[in-house]
Symmetry: C3
Subunit: 359 residues, 3 copies
């Protein structure tokens, strides 16, 4: 189930240079580059003449030259030269996408251009603020982006999947408070004298901590885990803050791009610490990739599913996504939505009380 009217991260800003960069987003092949003045060019990766990928061509200054017959396009997709004829047909232009750069990411609007309000880009300022230090990593997973979001919204898994980095039996066993507002799902835990995870112990040198953990989801594919940790009992001591941002962009209906980074508000200049954290994050991300890809492969639409209390967060997120899809489908074709819903997981299930099973 793909939602088009939304901003999606397509790349880190640092990935896009004055050279051609190809990536598939929501089933569309896209080529991106930066012009000499730094402006983003974002075009469909398909020549309007004979459909070869434009990303296989070359840049001549700010002009994209097609690999096949040498047609030239400017950064706005307008054909400005055809070697074999003088007349340039008006339709010889390439589709472009509304683009913005914010918080160190390149954002693309994949739906109706008229609706592409930059104010709708979710607040990931933690990723670019001078008050935080940290780095993002990228990975690609062969899984529906919704399975990756489910994973984030039920952190009880960290105790089993991430045993050597962020595992916590307290997280697994503490029922969270789940708050659902119009455009946000929030999963909150307050943990006292928690046995510290391997990663946090490396940073804090403490075997036990008090911490609050907030998991936040904003549709379509934005999540953040906010951790505030301190020595047990020291209610007004110095608290350490760690924000883990995970952003999911569908590549196709069953593959996704993921960017993950952990940002901290202390030891900002400690580069070795940044690198150590990044390595642990990569390890954790690959463990999530492993489990969600196995899940996707093992998925059987007809198998009954038992929902647990903690799944109410993921179910709320899926309901939010289904609503967005239905909303934009009002403008588009209705048939596709219903097909998608039929194949969806617990999207429109009525979620009952804790432990009540809902199929």
């Amino acid at each position: 189930m793909l939602i088009r009217n939304s901003w999606y991260v397509a790349a880190l800003s640092s990935e896009i240079k004055t050279e051609l960069f190809a990536r598939k987003i929501l089933n569309e092949n896209i080529v991106m580059y930066r012009t000499s003045d730094g402006t983003l060019a974002v075009l469909e990766d398909r020549c309007p003449h004979r459909q070869v990928p434009l990303s296989k061509g070359r840049l001549q200054g700010d002009t994209l030259v097609c690999w096949y017959h040498g047609l030239q396009f400017d950064a706005k997709g307008k054909c400005i030269h055809i070697p074999s004829q003088q007349l340039i047909p008006q339709r010889a232009c390439v589709k472009t996408y509304p683009a913005a750069e914010k918080y160190g990411f390149v954002w693309l609007w994949m739906g109706e251009p008229a609706l592409s309000d930059e104010a709708l880009i979710p607040d990931h300022s933690v990723c670019s603020s001078a008050q935080f230090a940290g780095e993002m990593c990228y990975t690609h997973v062969l899984t529906d982006y919704r399975l990756a979001i489910d994973n984030l919204l039920d952190l009880t898994h960290i105790n089993y999947v991430h045993t050597e980095t962020i595992s916590s039996i307290a997280v697994a066993e503490t029922p969270p408070a789940i708050t659902v507002s119009e455009r946000e799902v929030r999963v909150s835990r307050v943990l006292r004298k928690e046995k510290n995870s391997p990663l946090l112990r490396k940073m804090m040198g403490l075997d036990y901590i008090d911490r609050t953990q907030e998991v936040i989801f904003w549709p379509v594919g934005n999540t953040r885990v906010e951790t505030t940790a301190r020595a047990p009992g020291e209610t007004d001591g110095i608290a350490l803050r760690l924000f883990t941002t995970s952003i999911f962009t569908p590549e196709t209906v069953d593959s996704s791009h993921i960017w993950v980074g952990m940002h901290r508000d202390f030891a900002l200049d400690n580069q070795p610490l940044t690198q150590m954290i990044l390595q642990e994050v990569v390890k954790t991300v690959l463990e999530d990739k492993d489990v969600t890809e196995h899940l996707q492969q093992n998925w059987k639409q007809s198998a009954p599913i038992v929902h647990l209390a903690v799944d109410q967060a993921a179910a709320a997120a899926r309901r939010m996504l289904a609503d967005l899809r239905l909303q934009e489908a009002g403008v588009r074709e209705r048939g596709i939505v219903e097909f998608d819903l039929r194949n969806a997981t617990p999207v429109d299930s009525r979620m009952g009380e804790a432990g009540v099973e809902v199929v």
Copy 2:
């Protein structure tokens, strides 16, 4: 065409230890293990909560702990612990399969549990009897199990496909007696002064032998070739007996598991002989894999097929299988059967006299 109400070999008994073992049988993902007292646990390989394969989890004593969120299941598939909540939903259980161990194999009943009578397990006592020596080997083939059964029921192929092991021009040229009873197909040959095959010559040191060869088929996937060989003319001399058991279990509609072993009633303690025979059997099995996989790939449903006299055995076996499928479909959906039959090979063809073509 898959038949569910039957016992299928899923593994050698020796393969299943106190650790998780995954195998797909009749399109179902299954995880098996042995509890501390040696009992078999056979579960669907899918957590009822979020569908990850349980075989990727771990054993904690006799309890299976899910990889993803740590749910715990006992050997009967009952959920006995959920880390994130006290209440365990009744539906949080994993499907199990009737299982039995007999003749050195783990047998699973893949259909209606109420029909799983262990007396229906076919007699493969030769594989476990103290009066025989021999070892089974395993292979996986990308072919419909029925093509593998056809192969066994027309042994004229051994002269062309297995030139270095069990080839025999006499088998190819001697029309067999074919006997079909309610649950058995039998192909019998009596050969006088047969030029010995390379493998039997190694064992007997004779260039020519007298032998009887019986190929037996019991549905769904059980076959045995019984050979009695002796020096030519010595009607009452010592006869050597070699029983080759081949068992076929569908993995999917177009891939299969195969177990093959050759058991003898002489030189029971001769381990080097056992190993030599096993190596030759493996070579032969891989040749059959090669030919049947090519056959499967080259198969064209619309191409006419010419049946020979010798094919009456395979045709009888296929008719038996189709009848079993129709019979269980009486309890189940009828549509699937008819679809299967349409895609079947000569299943319901009327087999004529020798040399009469039937499509």
Copy 3:
């Protein structure tokens, strides 16, 4: 869109020896060999008994022995021996194909045998004439043969795709004369003081040349590029002639066999020159393979296409192919044609004037 009533190159004559050679042509698996007297045997690569590929069997003199059960077939596909029975069913025969050898190629007629008039084989005498020297190479591409033909009929691409061998900005920028007759499309350019291509400069030692270039297409898959080159201004000096033959045979609807060779009318005995040219041709062919395979993968049926003036040649060829298909479909099933047309590219588009867009 496959056209059956046509001669297709299936192999170089030199490829077919007294051994079994398998190739798929128009979705049919074919086995070829040469009998002891040099005659071609061309059979469907499928035993009529159990469908294994005959190409996996072996030759016993001129007789093909099946891999599986030893059935024997003569070079005309007639079954002449069945090991397991005396009676040979009349239907136990293998389909054969009308075949001819001409110009160094093996030609097969893939449609109604009664229509296989050898006079319809297109004139590729340049490939076998003593007045020319050159060698053919073979490659396989994962592309609809029509995309490969399009490529040949719009040579403006050579300036962009083949920069190190046959590139020419003059070809890209000179509008050709396009002549369409009943069974031929011809694209002609006359170039004065053309900056010479890397390959022709190696042969002629000239930086600039005058040349005429004729691209000829004959359906289904025959093309030739005829180049006549001389020193600039020397209208009556010695002209060098280079004929590049490219022949396309569909393997399936989206994969093709290609044979390409460049033949010259000078330095006929210069073997190192022949080898040098062959290497450059191979390089060029692999560049075309790269671009057309990317095109095929990137193809999106729903994307609009802008046609240029130069595309009138490719469009005429496609219209010719569609007409041939419609014509033979009159004798066959009509449904398939319409399906094919719906999935075709600009096959039946009305081509307008230069620069007028036609979808």
